[in-house]
Symmetry: none
Subunit: 257 residues, 2 copies
DNA sequence: CCGCACCGTTGCGCATGACGCAACGCTAGC
DNA sequence: GCTAGCGTTGCGTCATGCGCAACGGTGCGG
């Protein structure tokens, strides 16, 4: 173990543990993958990947299809998550907020958190319409093209904004914001009005409004959003929906300790 | 790394990863603990415990209270668990026909059967778009207002048609057929062209096309349908989609014993 | 049928990274 | 004030993580 905190203040990590945990993130993104692919993704030999996976599997954090098949995340994660105090706090309160808003607005409500360069949806409650937004729980979405992402950028750590400015913004539809300067303007507007919206920027026909959930000390914790087909959530509804979102988000944040 | 599966057939584990993951289990049981306690629990020195915890924390699987306080399970577990649960849901969906069509057409595909006075959806596979048709598996839908229902009426037992004619047809939207004579005409047209469609008859903005799955002896078994928001499945696409539906439905029916 | 490519697993031995020791600074309790 | 205990961090040793190579299995194409 050759130590020394590297330049950016990161404490020294146990490399083999770091690699094993990185595999979990890859599987969360990909759904499933083989040992050889996972090894390539991490820059390690497939035999190393196989051994790390065997250890993760022994603890139930991954499962393998068949004797020699691909790996996916395992149910042991759900058990561990169930035991976590953090889950009890934000997930319970977040779920209650989602359920309340979905009942009021009869549309899909999501709670998302910032994870690196993505918004990750951790809770979702759907309205009663058949044409709606499909299950996004666990899915990573691009920050610049989603209402949750804009909120997470506007209220979250400046490092996330800086990191995004240093990359080119991917286009998903003709409406996607791909100019960094324009995105900065939009984010300034988000901070001013207290909520964010998207109109067909991630996917044609999909609109959404989001508000920040902040802890009592002012830190951003999550983004609460309502999303729907654009014909049910047109621009002229945004302000009304945002008002409800902000009220529930503020109250949810107040209850977080 | 000295290998050799030990006596009980367990593959060799990467020791440091094993230790780190064991810490997660201890925290799940205990709620929170310090590095010294966790080290004692695992039989390792507290400095080793501290480094393993730092690595788990870098991945969000544990969180520390304050600068030098106790550790507890972290929010990263909730994110990973969410991804895991979503995958388990997806793995339950669909027959071969539903999967094949959804892959081809990239829309929601359902298989429904006739049950008394309703169409009951028994399988569903969704396309990749976020704005789509939510999970209908197990849900009963009205025969006269859904494409599956029209197929089940047109090709199914005449008793179902008679029973429906004896009741008043409920209106769901302005487009719903509520006149029994008109419905009879529509069903005759369905039998003639071999497929059925609905345009906003159950829900505004929801269109669908369906074809019959018949056993080799000609009996109606089920209805195979594709549904989507109307802007993605407008009337001028119905015939093309129906052609694919009928081909897959016919082949599926042929395979039924 | 065969050969080939690719997969995940496993044995092996090397060298590097995980480990324990020791020291440090901080906090809480007396 | 002092003491005890905490988590963190530098250091050097050696044990364990690593990549190489081989194996057996599977799928594909000729």
């Amino acid at each position: 173990m050759r130590n020394g905190a590297d330049g950016d203040g990161q404490p020294p990590l146990v490399q083999s543990v770091d690699r094993a945990l990185a595999m979990l993130s890859v599987l969360a993104d990909r759904g499933s993958a083989g040992a050889t692919d996972l090894g390539a993704e991490l820059g390690v030999h497939k035999s190393t990947a196989s051994r790390l996976l065997a250890t993760l599997e022994a603890h139930g954090l991954v499962e393998q299809r068949g004797e020699r098949g691909t790996y996916r995340l395992g149910f042991g994660l759900v058990r561990l998550a169930g035991a976590s105090a953090a889950q009890l706090d934000l997930s319970r309160l977040g779920r209650a907020a989602c359920e309340r808003l979905a009942a009021e607005l009869d549309e899909t409500v999501n709670l998302a958190v910032l994870d690196g360069d993505s918004a990750v949806n951790i809770s979702q409650v759907q309205g009663s319409a058949s044409v709606g937004v499909l299950n996004w729980v666990g899915r990573r979405t691009p920050l610049h093209a989603t209402s949750s992402g804009k909120v997470l950028l506007a209220y979250g750590p400046s490092a996330a904004r800086a990191a995004l400015s240093a990359t080119s913004l991917e286009r998903y539809t003709p409406a996607t914001i791909t100019d960094a300067a324009l995105l900065d303007e939009v984010l300034a507007g988000v901070r001013e009005q207290g909520w964010a919206a998207t109109e067909g920027e991630l996917e044609l026909g999909l609109n959404a409004v989001a508000a920040p959930v902040c802890a009592p000390d002012g830190r951003l914790v999550a983004a609460l959003s309502v999303s729907a087909p654009s014909y049910r959530l047109p621009r002229d509804r945004f302000a009304d929906v945002a008002e409800r979102l902000c009220a529930v988000a503020t109250e949810t944040g107040r209850q977080l300790g």
